[in-house]
């Protein structure tokens, strides 16, 4: 079976500390599409997000992940990022002392220059984006997310509010311009205003050049981001897929009917 989707997940089995979480998951996401992945707590949504990005804690025991036609299972997280994959974290990690601007310029420059230092002790990425050009870019993207300019000088996620962290994730996405972005419960912990700003940001970025996989527990965010496809995940597998109306059905009927359907299938 061949596919022209940028992200192809085939029969993916993933375990953590010997316990199988994903049990044969199939999913395809193309550039220009928005997919929503929904499911109850513990269904394996975050495991999928972390596995796609290459978190060392998660072990792929079967199946494959293809990105632009190549398996990425052997690739380090930084290689996957440079290839065009992005994960907006559910719980972004604080790096005290590292400013948002410095971090983003370094991350951006990994795409413009060789990644590693050359052993001479010289600062890497000397050839990257010019400081002036970068400042302009950052200013533009921060404007898009209605962020104050002082944000660039703050330490990454250090003392950020929940909303600031999520906005910072979208800012990173805006600067790095991935081909496929995975958003892991980006809506959780956001008040309605922050949710709208984040959703506006995603909508502005989504388009022919980027595919998005929105992972969410609630369909609240889907009032602002209109998915082309909705998938429901239960017990490590995608159980049901459909159009945007599927999210509405979940909202009114909950996840129980999907579970029931699964039991019927299994019996």
């Amino acid at each position: 079976m061949s596919s022209n989707a940028e992200l192809v997940i085939r029969d993916l089995h993933v375990g953590i500390e010997g316990k199988e979480i994903l049990k044969g998951l199939d999913l395809e996401v193309k550039k220009g599409e928005i997919h929503a992945l929904m499911g109850p707590n513990g269904s394996g949504k975050s495991t999928l997000a972390n596995t796609l990005m290459g978190h060392p804690k998660y072990e792929v025991t079967q199946g494959d992940i293809l990105f632009k036609g190549e398996s990425i299972l052997e690739m380090e997280p930084d290689e996957r990022s440079r290839a065009g994959l992005f994960l907006a974290f559910q719980y972004p990690v604080a790096i005290p002392g590292l400013t948002v601007a410095n971090f983003l310029r370094t991350a951006l420059n990994t795409r413009l220059a060789p990644a590693a230092t050359n052993g001479s002790g010289a600062m890497p990425h000397k050839k990257g984006i010019a400081p002036k050009e970068f400042r302009a870019l950052l200013k533009e993207k921060m404007g898009l997310l209605k962020m104050d300019e002082s944000f660039a000088g703050r330490y990454l996620n250090d003392g950020f509010s929940g909303g600031e962290k999520k906005r910072a994730e979208i800012l990173q996405m805006a600067v790095l311009k991935p081909e496929i972005a995975i958003m892991d419960e980006t809506d959780s912990g956001l008040d309605i205003d922050a949710l709208r700003i984040v959703a506006d940001g995603v909508n502005a970025l989504a388009g022919p050049g980027m595919g998005v996989l929105v992972i969410t527990h609630y369909n609240r965010i889907l009032n602002y981001i209109k998915p082309d496809r909705v998938h429901v995940m239960v017990d490590g597998r995608i159980q049901v897929s459909g159009g945007a109306d599927l999210a509405l059905k979940l909202e009114s009927q909950g996840y129980d009917w999907v579970r029931d359907q699964q039991e019927v299938e299994q019996s």
Partner: protein, 470 residues
């Protein structure tokens, strides 16, 4: 990359950039070892007044009597009789780089000293082995009466001023290595900033060891007169030799009423140098003394810059960074001694250890009887990069007054897998991600450095971190 191969690579960058050495070309070299004759010879060669010669000889006796300190890192392997105590590189000190012998000039060029002087310094002193070979201060500062000389020239040209302060802050009886320095000192800086004069741009001294098995014993004396300001920066490197060298300096600073002195060190000795230094300042009424002490190199460093706050309103500050890699032991920290009421102090220490290195904070907060309403805060944070490395904290407190405010916080942390994953997920490779986390850890201190040195410090950290994450 395995951690083992990373260890082998660690100082490779150092060897290329700093660890090279010139052919030996000294105009005079004392014989190996130390005794009265060697000390007298050093004094005679320098043509010193009799009082200094006697001071040296007395200090030698003190050195010989004092036992080796045993409360810190193991120093028992230092063989005092295998060291060259005085290596005179040139027949004189020069005021123009063009006059400095080509080899030495090339070395300092490689280290970027003349370039830095052009760009952002008020004055530069460059010491090569035992003597300062180049010294220059901007004319406008000279006209204001600012003195910036080698310590030897200070004694020669301003004997009365020199004698008034020399050995008053750190007497030769202070400790074994202060005694040793007092006996064989050579080079270092002598600085006097007259009342009310602000030296806005830093003065810098650079110390370079070239000769194998040598000891460098520079002596620095800084007097900042009332209401004046100076920022003094020192840097140091040495060739990577298989046998050990000894660097044992003494730095005395007098900060008079309302004056401020900042003393910044970026210590980057090669990993075969024992760096045993005594640094102390006295601060008078409303004066401020700040030590910014970065220790990246050396085999063993023992250094605890201290501030004695002698009169009300005095303020002391010590910002310390210690980085210990394979085979390194950094025993750094600071001491603040509140001798008068209403004095304040702050110590911030950041230590990083990796590849089996050992970095620690050893510090003292002392409030003497009568120093009421004194305030002191101490923050020491340690970052340990792998299981084989070690961090120690020895925070001593001697508080003899009740009405004081003392704060102490200490943290120990490791680079988290989640932090690495997060940075990697943005395209940054693991090694650089770790370096960024380390740079962030020391950022509160690095941001206190002048821009050029902040860049240098980050570059050095980057160098130290190369090949560090498997």
């Amino acid at each position: 990359m395995s951690t083992e191969s990373a260890n082998l690579d660690l100082r490779e960058g150092y060897t290329e950039k700093y660890g090279f050495h010139d052919a030996e070309q000294s105009v005079f070299k004392s014989r190996r070892g130390l005794d009265k004759d060697v000390v007298a010879q050093i004094s005679d060669m320098k043509g010193e007044p009799v009082w200094m010669k006697n001071y040296r000889l007395k200090a030698l006796e003190i050195f010989e009597k004092k036992p080796m300190p045993t409360w810190g890192p193991d120093l028992s392997v230092i063989d005092f009789q295998n060291i060259f105590y005085y290596v005179k590189p040139t027949s004189e000190e020069f005021k123009s780089w063009d006059d400095v012998p080509a080899d030495m000039k090339r070395t300092f060029d490689k280290l970027g000293i003349p370039e830095a002087e052009q760009k952002f310094l008020s004055g530069v002193g460059a010491q090569y082995d035992s003597e300062v070979v180049y010294h220059k201060i901007q004319e406008k500062l000279e006209k204001l009466g600012v003195l910036f000389l080698s310590c030897d020239q200070g004694l020669k040209e301003h004997e009365a001023l020199f004698k008034q302060y020399f050995g008053t802050v750190i007497p030769s009886t202070d400790n074994k290595f202060a005694a040793l320095n007092s006996a064989v000192w050579s080079g270092g800086s002598f600085i006097y900033v007259p009342k009310g004069v602000h030296v806005d741009v830093p003065l810098q001294a650079y110390f370079r060891i070239n000769t194998k098995d040598m000891g460098q014993f520079e002596r620095t004396l800084i007097i900042v007169d009332e209401g004046a300001f100076v920022h003094y920066v020192e840097g140091c490197t040495a060739p990577t030799y298989s046998s050990d060298s000894l660097h044992s300096a003494v730095v005395e600073i007098i900060v008079k009423a309302g004056a401020r002195c900042r003393y910044t060190t970026i210590q980057n000795w090669s990993n075969n140098v024992y760096n045993l230094v005594t640094k102390r300042a006295v601060a008078y009424r409303n004066a401020t003394m700040e030590w910014v002490d970065g220790n990246l190199g050396s085999k063993i460093t023992q250094k605890y810059p201290s501030v004695y706050m002698m009169e009300p309103g005095a303020h002391g500050e010590i910002l310390s960074i210690a980085f210990a890699g394979k085979g390194q032991h950094q025993d750094a920290g600071g001491k603040v001694i509140h001798c008068a009421p209403n004095t304040s102090s702050k110590i911030i220490s950041k230590s990083i250890s990796k590849d089996g290195g050992r970095a620690g904070y050893r510090g003292l907060v002392k409030v003497q009887k009568g120093a009421v309403d004194s305030r002191s805060t101490v923050n020491c944070d340690a970052l340990i990069l792998d299981e084989r490395s070690r961090s120690d904290t020895y925070p001593y407190m001697e508080i003899e007054e009740d009405r004081v405010t003392i704060g102490h916080e200490a943290t120990v942390s490791k680079i988290g897998d989640e932090q690495l994953f997060y940075l990697q997920s943005r395209g940054i490779d693991k090694e650089e991600a770790a370096a960024m986390i380390v740079s962030g850890f020391i950022e509160p201190i690095v941001k206190e450095l002048p821009m050029e040195y902040a860049v240098e410090m980050n570059r050095l950290i980057q160098l130290q971190m190369e090949g560090s994450v498997g």
